[in-house]
Symmetry: C2
Subunit: 316 residues, 2 copies
């Protein structure tokens, strides 16, 4: 918009939604975003909140509200930017898929940190965005706010030959704990207690989360690997001995193939030094050889940073 004013609709007000709300309000002044407002929030628990005050997080309604017709809200909202922060579903894309489709179809820009819709429907959503002259941004789907595929914007003309990564903090944490003596089960329980792993750890330990990120990066690079075409092996069969020897859950992609599987990395491989829940990506490119970006891959404010990065990209 020519007056640089923007209105944001947040869908999904859990950890990431609230983190974004907090980060946006704390940074908007120094970023010169006085004309950008979070004007609506829709959430299963909190219902439809209009014109939220900056103190919203202290005054969240405690009672569950009646269901809201989210697609109707999206269509009828005067907001020009929709932030989709609902839960991940790798099978269908989940409600996030419908939210994003509806937003793009009505010409609204979309920022999401939700891997489900991007993994399952990238091509369709990307075409829809182009057709409706809307932006579709999803930095937060890979390594939260830590620079990942977006570092390629800093390398105009560079050609990616292949990439490798440790893109799931939960499994890296579990393998790390196994390497110092814990059983898989004990390490998993530990990860769950620390909030790294969910009650149903399938998406992490069976490699689906890593494969989703592999598919997303491949799509961005114009490579043909769909989520369903990626060879996936998780960490359930990794032995204590293998964990001690430096086995990591490796994500790999090149124009010909892509996989996720436990791989023993040599000691002089930088990826072998990635500890705990930290994520890392290596791009091998024609002009520089191997470059790496390393940092957190999850977290409330860490993921909110990704949405801020996308927001500034869209409005500037």
């Amino acid at each position: 918009m020519s007056d640089n004013s923007h209105n944001i609709l947040i869908i999904g007000f859990g950890t990431v939604g609230q983190g974004f709300f907090e980060l946006f309000n704390s940074k908007k002044k120094e970023l010169g975003l006085q004309n950008v407002r979070i004007s609506e929030i829709v959430d299963m628990r909190y219902g439809h909140i209009k014109s939220p005050g900056e103190d919203l997080l202290k005054n969240l309604p405690s009672q569950k509200t009646p269901p809201v017709d989210v697609l109707k809200v999206i269509r009828e909202s005067f907001c020009d930017i929709v932030c989709e922060f609902t839960w991940v579903d790798f099978k269908t894309g989940g409600p996030g898929y419908d939210h994003i489709k509806t937003a793009l179809s009505s010409g609204k820009h979309v920022i999401t940190t939700n891997k489900g819709p991007i993994t399952t429907h990238y091509d369709e959503l990307n075409e829809l965005a182009i057709k409706n002259r809307a932006e579709l941004r999803f930095k937060g789907t890979v390594m939260a706010g830590t620079p990942s595929f977006n570092i390629l914007k800093l390398l105009p003309g560079a050609k990616v030959l292949r990439f490798r990564g440790i893109l799931n903090g939960t499994t890296n944490y579990i393998l790390n704990e196994m390497s110092i003596g814990k059983s898989f089960e004990a390490a998993l329980r530990d990860a769950q207690q620390k909030g790294y792993a969910e009650a149903d750890p399938t998406n992490d330990v069976d490699g689906f989360d890593s494969a989703a990120k592999c598919a997303i990066i491949s799509k961005i690079l114009g490579w043909p690997h769909d989520f369903n075409g990626i060879e996936i092996k998780g960490i359930r069969e990794v032995t204590a001995q293998e964990a001690r020897n430096g086995t990591k859950l490796l994500v790999y992609g090149d124009p010909e193939k892509a996989y996720v599987k436990p791989v023993k990395l040599p000691d002089d491989d930088l990826l072998s030094s990635i500890r705990g829940v930290t994520n890392a990506i290596e791009f091998e490119i024609d002009t520089l050889g191997k470059i790496y970006s390393v940092g957190p891959g999850a977290g409330r404010i860490e993921t909110a940073q990704a949405a801020m990065t996308d927001l500034l990209d869209i409005i500037s």
Copy 2:
């Protein structure tokens, strides 16, 4: 320019200048730079070359040419972008300082990979750029084309609390070789034979090159550390034992202080895993904690990539 046409003047046609010439010509088509030309080159050895053909590198004049009045060429050139690729001088800024000053004063944008002028005269050159509405870009002064301070562009609103880095490949290579049994002298000779170290290795082994990068990053972050105010200790006194124990030449900066000195890094510090001539930088920021960028810090095409990154920033 509204028609998106640009003309580039290259000053200094050694390793970096020739690397940039080659990279620019190989990438210009896919980057849509048909209206961007390298229209002039000035070099001590090759003189003043006008409208060079793409096959220039195969047809470089073998005889030394008479001296050229470079400042006059800069002033009178119709080019709008000057690439400064001459040699480093940390005492005065060298001829590069005069070249950049003259270019900015005549309203021309400047791209440089030359640490000398930026280290010694950052404030003055920056003000001159602003006053003349010209861009001054110097990505290549820190970690060549590998993302370094420019990753902060991917993190709007994020506040840097401190940074640490291994920003000199030569000393990291020497310490690495010492850690596996070589003497300092043997490792230095080896580095010189491999082309990592210069005949006079002072700038590298005494820490000046690292300190220059420390000063440049500090300036970008708005911190008060000048090159001359940075505590500098090189690697000449590092013992074999210290090298084996993981001592690295560490660059550190926060708003209060900045230094370059050999530091023993613990094994679980990612910077301790940086081998050979590879460079690495860690930024600790409010929204993400510690993030890292790792990759080559020197090289012909690697440094040319930095100038390409700056070029695309300026013209797009």
